[in-house]
C-alpha cells in the first residue's frame, strides 16, 4: 500500500499589486515546489511563521484553493484529474478543521443540525438513527447529549472547537487537516484539545496534517515535522530528528526560542530577494553561494534539509 497522501512539486503563486495605483505586480510564491508523503495513520506537523505558506499548502491539498501546478495523490487518485462530483465524494474522506471556531460554525444552527447535516448529506446513517450517531460523536469529542440543542454562542471557545472536530469526524475521514486548531484558544484549553486529537488518533488510526506556528504543540502531536519558510520546505523528517538534531539555521532558531535563548540579535531582515536561498537575509551562517544559487532539499527519507552547508 502506498502512502495515503502524496504531494509532489506543488506550487501556488499569487500576484499582488505593489501599491494601489501601481501597474507592476509582485509575485508571491506562497507554496514553492513542496513535495512530501503522508503515511497511513501518521501525523505530519507543518510549522512556520505567518506568511510561510503553511495554510495555503493545507488548502491546496484539499483543493479549497487550486494549485498552479504539481500533483496531489490521495489514496492513489490524482486530485488534479478528478472531476468536480468525484472530488465531492473524495472530500468526504478528507476533512478540515479551522483555527477559529467562532467563525467556522454557523451561528444560526444548533449543534444537532451542524452534526446531522453531513451524516444525512453523505447518507452515512439513515434518518432514524441520526440522533443516536450525533450523540456518539459528541461523546467522542468529550461533550454530551446536553449540547445537542445549543447554539454556538452558548458555548465556550473550547467547546466550539470540540463541535468543529466532531463535525470533521462525522464522515469517518481517513485524513484530517487541522489548520492552527488551538491557536485561538486559551492556554489551559489548548492542552485539552491537543489531548483530544491524540485520543482520536489512537482510537481511529486517522492520518493528520497538523498546521501550527507553535513548535511545542507540533512536537507533541506529530510523528513527522515539516518546517516551512517563504513557501519552501527548509527541513523535514521524523520528530526525533528534526527536534533533537535540527540542521537548518531557521529550525535551530525556532527551537532555541522555545528552549530559552531569547535575545539573540538577528542579521538584517527586510531585504527581499528574488534568487538564492529564501533564508539568506536572516541567516547567520550564510556565504556568497547562498546569495546566487537556490539550494535543494538533500538528505535521506528520515531527514532532509534545504541548506548548502550540508551539500558536498
Amino acid at each position: 500500500m502506498g502512502p495515503l497522501l502524496s504531494v509532489s512539486e506543488l506550487k501556488k503563486r499569487y500576484e499582488v499589486k505593489r501599491s494601489l495605483f501601481s501597474r507592476d505586480r509582485e509575485i508571491i510564491r506562497a507554496v514553492d515546489s513542496v513535495s512530501f508523503d503522508l503515511k497511513h495513520g501518521s501525523t505530519m506537523g507543518i510549522v512556520g511563521e505567518s506568511g510561510s505558506g503553511k495554510s495555503t499548502l493545507a488548502r491546496c491539498i484539499l483543493f479549497l484553493e487550486k494549485p498552479d501546478s504539481g500533483r496531489v495523490f490521495f489514496k492513489d487518485e490524482d486530485l488534479m484529474d478528478v472531476k468536480k462530483n468525484e472530488l465531492r465524494s473524495l472530500r468526504r474522506d478528507m476533512q478540515i478543521i479551522f483555527q477559529d471556531p467562532y467563525s467556522s460554525l454557523n451561528p444560526r444552527k444548533k449543534v444537532y443540525e451542524t452534526l446531522s447535516e453531513p451524516l444525512l448529506f453523505h447518507r452515512i446513517v439513515g434518518r432514524d438513527s441520526v440522533r443516536e450517531r450525533v450523540i456518539e460523536i459528541l461523546m467522542d469529542v468529550g461533550l454530551n447529549e446536553d449540547f445537542i440543542e445549543k447554539y454556538p454562542h452558548e458555548m465556550s471557545g473550547g467547546q466550539r472547537q470540540r463541535v468543529a472536530i466532531g463535525r470533521a469526524l462525522t464522515t469517518n475521514p481517513s485524513l484530517i487537516v487541522a489548520d492552527e486548531p488551538v491557536s485561538s484558544l486559551d492556554v489551559s484549553i489548548q492542552a485539552q484539545i491537543v489531548n483530544l486529537f491524540l485520543d482520536i488518533k489512537e482510537k481511529t488510526g486517522i492520518s493528520m496534517l497538523f498546521v501550527s506556528h507553535d513548535l511545542n504543540i507540533v512536537r507533541f502531536i506529530s510523528d513527522d515535522i515539516m518546517v516551512m519558510y517563504k513557501g519552501m520546505v527548509v527541513e523535514t523528517g521524523s520528530k526525533q530528528e528534526v527536534f533533537y538534531n535540527p540542521l537548518h539555521p531557521y529550525t535551530q532558531m525556532l527551537i532555541d526560542s522555545i528552549k530559552g535563548d531569547f535575545f539573540k540579535k538577528e542579521v538584517d531582515y527586510n531585504t527581499d530577494i528574488s534568487q538564492g536561498c529564501p533564508y539568506f537575509p536572516r541567516c547567520s551562517i550564510r556565504n556568497d553561494r547562498c546569495k546566487k544559487d537556490t539550494p535543494v532539499l538533500i538528505g535521506d527519507k528520515d531527514h532532509k534539509v534545504l541548506c548548502f552547508r550540508y551539500a558536498n
Binding site: S188, I189, N195, H213, S257, K265
Partner: protein, 334 residues
C-alpha cells in the same frame, strides 16, 4: 490621608514606581454588575518588569485600562488606590491625567496594524506625542524623532520619518509604537500583549529592545501577556490573574521554581510538561468561567484538583507566604 502619607514614605525607600492596592473595577450591565477587576494590588520597582499573566477575560487588560483611567463605559473604577510618582491617579482631574498618559506612562498595545494612523507619516505620528507634552520647536522635535527612531533600531531614520505605516513590516511598526511610547521618557511603560501578533524571531527582537530600554533608562514595565514562556525569561515579577483576581504573586525565580496555586501549576504543566515521553498533556479540566457567571467561593474551584468543601463556600484571602510572595488559596491558609 494618613494612609497615603505612609505609602509615600514606603515609596521613597524602595524606589517604587507604581503601587496599586485594593483596585476594583466594575461593569454595570442589564443583567447585573460584573466585577472585572476585584481587589487587585501590586507594586513595580524602578527598572523592573512585572508580568500580569492571565487568560482571556481574566481582567488583565482591564487592570491596565484602570491604571490609565481609560476604562470604557459602562465600566468604572469603584475603589482602590493607584499611587504613581507620589500621587493617587484616581484623584486626578481629567486634565491632570492627560498630562500623565503618554508622558509619564507610556503605552504599547497588541495590534501594531491598527494602533497607527495609516494616512500620517511615521515621523509625524511620533512627533505628535512629543509636541503635545513638551514645548519644543519643530526642528527640535524632528531631531528628537530621529534620535528615537535610532534608539528603537532603525538605521535610516531620515527615510523612516517620511514613510507610512503600510510600508513597514509588523515588527517595524511595533518598533514605531515603542518609539512613541518612550518619546517623553516615561517612568512606567504599559505593554499589553506587545508581541502576540508577531513571529517568533521578531518577538525575540522586540523583547530584546524592550529589555535594553528598561535597563538603559531605568523604566519600570507592566507587561500583560498570556504567555508564561515569555515571562520566564523576560520578567522580574509575575502576577497570575484569574476571573478578575490575582491568585498568585512572586518573583520569577520563586514562581517558576515552585508555583503554589493549583491554577498556576496547571498552567505550567500544560506548557512545560513536554520533557520525557508522556503520551498526554496535563490539561486543566473545565473551561474559563465567564465574568457574568462566576462560581461561588474560590473562582477556580470547579477546575481544581485539590478542591475542599470550604473552597465551594468561601473565597480565600490573599496570604503572604514570603518576601513579595502571595497566594490566594485555602491550601496555604494555615
Amino acid at each position: 490621608m494618613h494612609r497615603v502619607k505612609i505609602i509615600k514614605e514606603f515609596l521613597k525607600v524602595k524606589e517604587i514606581t507604581i503601587k496599586i492596592s485594593g483596585l476594583h473595577t466594575e461593569i454595570s450591565t442589564d443583567s447585573g454588575t460584573i466585577k472585572a477587576v476585584d481587589d487587585v494590588g501590586f507594586h513595580i520597582e524602578k527598572g523592573k518588569v512585572l508580568g500580569l499573566i492571565g487568560e482571556s477575560g481574566s481582567g488583565k487588560t482591564m487592570t491596565a485600562m484602570s491604571i490609565l483611567r481609560l476604562v470604557p463605559p459602562p465600566g468604572r473604577i469603584t475603589r482602590g488606590n493607584i499611587i504613581f510618582e507620589g500621587r493617587d491617579l484616581l484623584n486626578l482631574t481629567k486634565k491632570e491625567m492627560e498630562s500623565i498618559r503618554g508622558n509619564r506612562i507610556g503605552m504599547i498595545f497588541q495590534e501594531p496594524m491598527t494602533a497607527l494612523n495609516p494616512v500620517i507619516r511615521i515621523g509625524e505620528q511620533i512627533g505628535e506625542t512629543i509636541a503635545f507634552h513638551n514645548n519644543l520647536s519643530r526642528s527640535d522635535i524632528k531631531q528628537r524623532v530621529f534620535e528615537l527612531l535610532r534608539q528603537v533600531g532603525f538605521e535610516d531614520p531620515e527615510k523612516r520619518y517620511i514613510q507610512y505605516p503600510h510600508q513597514l513590516s509588523g515588527g517595524q511598526r511595533q518598533r514605531v509604537l515603542i518609539a512613541i511610547a518612550i518619546s517623553c521618557n516615561p517612568s512606567l511603560l504599559i505593554a499589553d500583549e506587545p508581541t502576540t501578533a508577531l513571529d517568533v524571531a521578531t518577538e525575540s527582537q522586540i523583547l530584546y529592545l524592550l529589555r535594553q530600554l528598561i535597563s538603559g533608562q531605568g523604566m519600570s514595565m507592566l507587561f500583560i501577556t498570556h504567555n508564561l514562556n515569555i515571562m520566564r525569561r523576560f520578567g522580574d515579577y509575575v502576577c497570575i490573574m484569574y476571573a478578575g483576581r490575582i491568585l498568585e504573586e512572586g518573583s520569577v525565580e520563586d514562581f517558576f521554581s515552585e508555583p503554589l496555586h493549583p491554577y498556576s501549576r496547571g498552567l505550567l504543566d500544560s506548557i512545560f510538561a513536554f520533557k520525557g515521553d508522556e503520551t498526554r498533556l496535563k490539561a486543566i479540566p473545565g473551561f474559563v468561567p465567564k465574568l457574568s457567571d462566576l462560581p461561588e467561593g474560590c473562582k477556580f474551584h470547579p477546575r481544581c484538583m485539590y478542591v475542599m468543601p470550604i473552597c465551594k463556600k468561601n473565597e480565600p484571602e490573599a496570604k503572604k507566604i514570603g518576601e513579595d510572595r502571595w497566594v490566594r488559596c485555602y491550601l496555604y491558609q494555615n
